[in-house]
Amino acid sequence: MPLIALLILFPLCAGLAVLSTRDIEQRENLVRWLAYGLGGATLLLALLHFRTEPEFFTLGQGLTGALDNLFMLGGIAVSLYLLYACRQIKGREWYIPVLLLVQMGLMLFVELAPEHPVVARPFYLDSFSVLMALIVGVIGGLICIHAVRYMHDYHAHGHGAQEAKTTCPERRRRSFFFMLFVFLAAMFGIVFSNHLLWLFFFWEVTTLCSFWLIAYSGTDEAVRNGFRALGINLIGGVSFAGALVWLTHGPGLHTWELDQLVAAGSALALIPAVLIAVAGLTKSAQMPFSSWLLGAMVAPTPVSALLHSSTLVKAGVFLLVKLAPVFHNTYAGLLLSLIGGLTFLVTSLIAINQRSAKLVLAYSTIANLGLIVMCVGIGTAATLWAAILLIVFHAVAKALLFLAAGTTAHLIGGRDIEDMEGLVYRRPALAAAMLIGILGMFLAPFGMLLSKYATLQAFLTVEVLPLGGVLLAVIIVFGSAPTLFFWSKWMGKLVAVPRRPQPSELPLPRDEAIALFSLAALTTLACALFPLIDWLFIHPYTGSLIGAGLIPALDGHLPWETIATMSFMLAALFLLPILFWLRPPQFQASSGYLSGANVDGSASYRGAMGAEREVASRSYFLTDFIREGMLTRVGLLGSGCLLILMMLTGAIR
């Protein structure tokens, strides 16, 4: 328990400490040390509590009461701050304050209820939440380290320089790291709270932080996107609050404790679970709610990495995974899976259209979360196993990719994938990190493959509605193809040999290097040692759920040779370049084939009108074939219908 308190309070204090520094250098050093400390603390937690059975903590009566009041006031404060921020809204954004007020009303209705359920054990800890904490602490910490240098550059040049300087005064810059730390504290809160009201408070804090961070640069675009994020997250908030109202005043289940909600099973808990799931869907940017995540890409890259790849969106799926036992074997669960599936399919396709590295990452993030949601909706041990592994792999690999994309943008001055041509030759280390990230994202034997393997197997054996499983499997089958396309073409750009010598470039800053290489190492380790992760964290968690009879016993698990073969492939993928490096072949170099029109061994040719032209190759975006607008519309409509259906089936049961 003290550790949990530490984890929640430490970043909070850290944030305050950062806020109080005046000197930039001092502040940067402080951030570095605090981030290391945070990572260390979570590692300590993990060391102490791996393979742990769920543990619940009680607080003293007085403390609970005090915290109750504190969080209630805090909640109101957050809402009020947001209301205050709403003075900047424009036009159609009037719905934001309305939602805020509704949510505040609902919460007050819950909290001031005459006889509300008593929460005996407000905090808990199980191996899954430890794993989440590890992700938040380590990856969040690394992202903070990356941000130190990145924000330095961000303000030193580029649009950051022009815009942030005018719109964001020094105070705002200081608050940046404060907000990061507050956000991490809230994440820990979400991960460890068993008290749904407290959880909701932390939830609100993350909403606030994301709004603030997205709008950070203060440009109109950033502010608008901030409000979009806020608005959509508030929909989730209202839905969450609705669930709380149901749990407080509704018939049947009467509890404020998460574990009891889960344990109540689908018969009793489906309605609140569905409502909370909607909140989870908004936070994890699933299809009808996905637009905020794309808009949020205007934020500085570390923010994107932190909020939108590795942590914030994970809060959404974290909650969904927690609720999975409730969804197991229900129509609502199947529909939830279908929402995830539709999101996966549509966003995978759209990602092909994207030029900007960040947008590709954003779409693939949504797609991957969709995959996780698919797993959650089915809610068997195998799919949960897959979902959690996906969370882990996605968190490390995506954080790595985001940071690498940001660093690349700073170093070579372009965020388009097209600009990254020849990165392997121009910036080998950076390119290696990026390649590891990409491989981790989709390629056998790395991360996603495993999870896809498990999900496919699980889907085909799903029993709610036999067709549903096939449908989901088919979605994966069709969704994987575009994934393969856009990742491969990105890799293709990275490995392409540059056409002319590149000018000497800036050195890779140390902070960014540390973050990138640690993440690259983590990605590799996660892939290589995933059985260990499984054994340490996932298996105990699913095991305890099975033990409690919440989900059926483990069905077909991965056979050992499959894992062995995967490891062998992984080893091969690493050994081959090393062998190659040790004994490089001695081949004569020549220029590419240019129909015989080459000019002196370069990449230019003698073209029409006597001009010497350099060839150019652009990867394919298939904009004529895959129409982003149309797909988005289909996705929104389809997922909207599914969402409504899900809520209906939830209610009808």
């Binding site: 029409a608 009108m609 006597g610 001009a611």
Partner: protein, 132 residues
């Protein structure tokens, strides 16, 4: 088969107006070419309609070989005019798609602009013998 198609001489300033007239009458550009003479270039253009071909000739002086472009009237003229440019050294103001002398790159530059020396008879055997 002799068609008795006419060859008419034009003044240079009628060059474009004739083209415009033929274009509006539904004629089609058949070809343009040149012949080098001692003190001028003869430029020829052929239009046709319903299998009837009419040919016009104009002269441009060697020291000021400038020919207004027809490519705005007959888009297809750009190939012929570029050719005239490269082979005869004619300047063609107003060319829509100007290859800048790179339409036909040749070993001997502006090969057709030289004095027309008609050799008496074919190459003689003795000369050939020396060369071989």
């Amino acid at each position: 088969m002799s068609l008795g198609e006419p060859f008419e001489d034009l003044e240079l300033d009628q060059w474009v107006t004739t083209a415009v007239r033929h274009q509006s009458e539904g004629f089609r550009l058949v070809q343009m070419t040149g012949t080098a003479r001692a003190d001028h270039f003869e430029i020829m253009v052929s239009y046709d309609k319903d299998y009837r071909c009419v040919n016009y000739r104009t002269r441009i002086p060697r020291d000021h070989p400038e020919l207004p472009s027809l490519s705005a009237i007959f888009p297809a003229a750009f190939t012929y005019e570029n050719e005239l440019k490269d082979l005869f050294g004619v300047v063609v103001p107003g060319l829509t798609l100007d290859y800048g002398g790179n339409f036909l790159r040749t070993k001997t530059k502006i090969a057709f602009s030289g004095e027309v020396v008609v050799k008496k008879g074919a190459a003689t055997a003795t000369k050939a013998g020396q060369e071989v």
